[in-house]
C-alpha cells in the first residue's frame, strides 16, 4: 500500500487502511515471521492429534493384552 497523507492524529493512510481491514500494521519481516510461526503452530496441532492416536492405541493394546493374560 502507498501512503498518500496523514490524518489529525498523525496516522498515515496506509496505517488507517490496515486498521480498517483488521490487519496489523507491521514490518515485512514481522509479517513473514508470523507466517512461519503460524505454520509451526498448525504443525504442532497436527502432531498432537497424531500423538493422541498413539496413546489410544497403546492403552487399548495394553488392556487387551492384560485381558488375554
Amino acid at each position: 500500500m502507498r501512503s498518500v497523507g496523514k490524518d489529525k492524529l498523525g496516522r498515515s493512510s496506509t496505517q488507517l487502511g490496515a486498521e480498517a481491514l483488521d490487519i496489523p500494521n507491521i514490518s515485512l519481516r514481522e509479517h513473514w515471521r508470523d507466517h512461519f510461526v503460524g505454520m509451526a503452530v498448525e504443525a504442532a496441532y497436527a502432531l498432537a492429534l497424531l500423538a493422541a492416536g498413539g496413546v489410544m492405541a497403546w492403552a487399548v493394546v495394553t488392556i487387551v493384552n492384560a485381558g488375554a493374560r
Binding site: L49, G54, A57
Partner: protein, 501 residues
Amino acid sequence: MILRPSAQTFRVVGYYTGKVVTGLGFLAIIPLIVGLGYQEWDPALNFALGALLSFIVGVGLQIAFYTLDDLTWGEGLIVTAGAWLWATALAAVPTFMSGHYGLFADAVFDVMSGFTTTGLTLIQDLDHVSYAQNMWRHILTFAGGQGIVVIALTFLLKSSAGAFSMYKGEGRDDRILPSVVETAKAIWLVAGLYLVVGTAALTAVNLGLGLPFEKSFWYGMWTFMGAWSTGGFAPMSYNMLYYHSLTFEIITLIICIAGSMNFALHWAVWNGKRGELRRNIEIQAFTATVLITVGLAIVALAQTGIYPEALAMARKATYTVVSAHTGTGFSTVLSQAYRTQWGPLAMMVVSVAMMLGASSGSTAGGIKAMRVGIFFKAVKGDLKRILMPPSAVIKEGYHHIHDYFLDDTTIKRVFIITLLFLFTYFLSGFVGMFYGYDFVDALFDGASALSTTGLSCGITDPITMPVGLKMFYTVLMWVGRLEFLSIMVLAVHAYSIVRGR
C-alpha cells in the same frame, strides 16, 4: 414458476465459462514443459494438443459470447457448476491419449477425481506412467483443490459481485480480504509456502530412504500436492505403502491436516491470531470427531487382532482414519485388506470418518466440521431450553474467526445440507448393491467418492467396475465437491430451458 434463461444469461454464462476454460489451457502447459524436459515426446504432444483445445474452446467462447455485463448470483453458480464439467471433459482428452485408460469414461473419472481432490483412480499400470502424465495428475488435484474458479480469479478475472458468486459456488465461504481476487491470491500464497516447505521435507525423507535425488524431488512434490489438496493421488500404485516410513507418514499426515483447515483460519493464525486455533468451532469439532473415530477404529481393529503391537496399530488406524477424515485418501493398507482383514466394523468407522470430513473453505469434502459443530451447538441449545425456566433467554453462539450467534436460519441450512449428504451417502450404498456389492463395501467406496476422499476397498477398479457405477461415482465426486447448491441451480436452469416460462 421457473423463468427460462434469457439470451443475456447464455451470453454471460458462455463468456465467463470461456474464461475458466482458458485457465485450464495454461495448466496443461506445465506437464508439456515437463514432457519436453524429459524428452517424452508423445506425452508432450498430448498436452500441447490438450492446451490448444482448451485455448480454442475458451477463447472461442469468449469471442462468441463477448459481454461487459457482470454475472448475477445464480449465473455465477451456473458458471461454476458448468465450468467444472467443461474443464473435466477437456482435461480428459490428453489424459485419455496417454494410453493408460481403457475407456474415455475412465479418463473422465480420473480427471474429475483429480479436480475434486478425491483420489480414486482407474488408471492402468500407474507404476510406468510418464513424468509428464504424473505431473498432470498432480497438477489437476493441486489446482482443483484451490478451485478452478480460484485459478481464473487469480489470473483472468476482475473482482466483482459475480466473481464472488462463482467463488461461493465452489464451496468456499471465506473472503478474508476486501477483494475476492486478492483472497484468491492469498490462497495461493498459503499453498505456495506450504508447497516449498512440504516438498523440501518429503524430498529429504525420500533421500534418506535411498531414492535418487530426481525421484526424491518429484515424488516429494507430487505427494505434497496429493496431501495438501487432500487429494490422495500418488505416483506409485502402492500409494503410501510404497515408502514404508513412519517419518514419511507423519509428515504427510501433518500436511493433510493443514490442508484440511479452513483457509480463513490459516490466514488468521498466519497473521498473529494463534489463539484462533483453540477457539475455532471447526477445529474443536474436527479434533473431537477425529479422536472419537480413531478410538473406535482402534477398538474395532483390536477386536480382529490383526495388529497385536501398539505402534503398528496406531500407525495403521491413525493414518487411515485421519486420511479419511481429512478427505485425503492416502493409504498404508492395500484396498482388498479392508475387506479381508479390517472387517465391517472398522470399515464402517472409516466410512463415518469420510462422511464427516474436515473444514469448510478447504479442499476437504464431506459434511464438514462446521456443520457438525453447529449441529451439536443446536442440540445443546435445545436441551438448555427444555431444562431451564421458560423465562430464561438461551442464546447459543460459536466462534469462527469472529463470534456469531446461532440463529434458526443457520441451523436450517446446516440441517438441509447435512440431510442431503446423508441421503446421497445411503443412495450410493444402494446403487452399489444394485451392481452386486455388499452394502458396507458399497457405502465405503460411495462415501469415499461423495466426500471426495479416495480410499477404496477394491470396488473402484478399471477392469471389474461396471461402467454405470464409474459414471455414478463421477457425478458423486462433482456433487460432493460443489456441495449441491451450484449443481441444483444448474439443474433447475436446465429444466427451465425445457419446461419453464
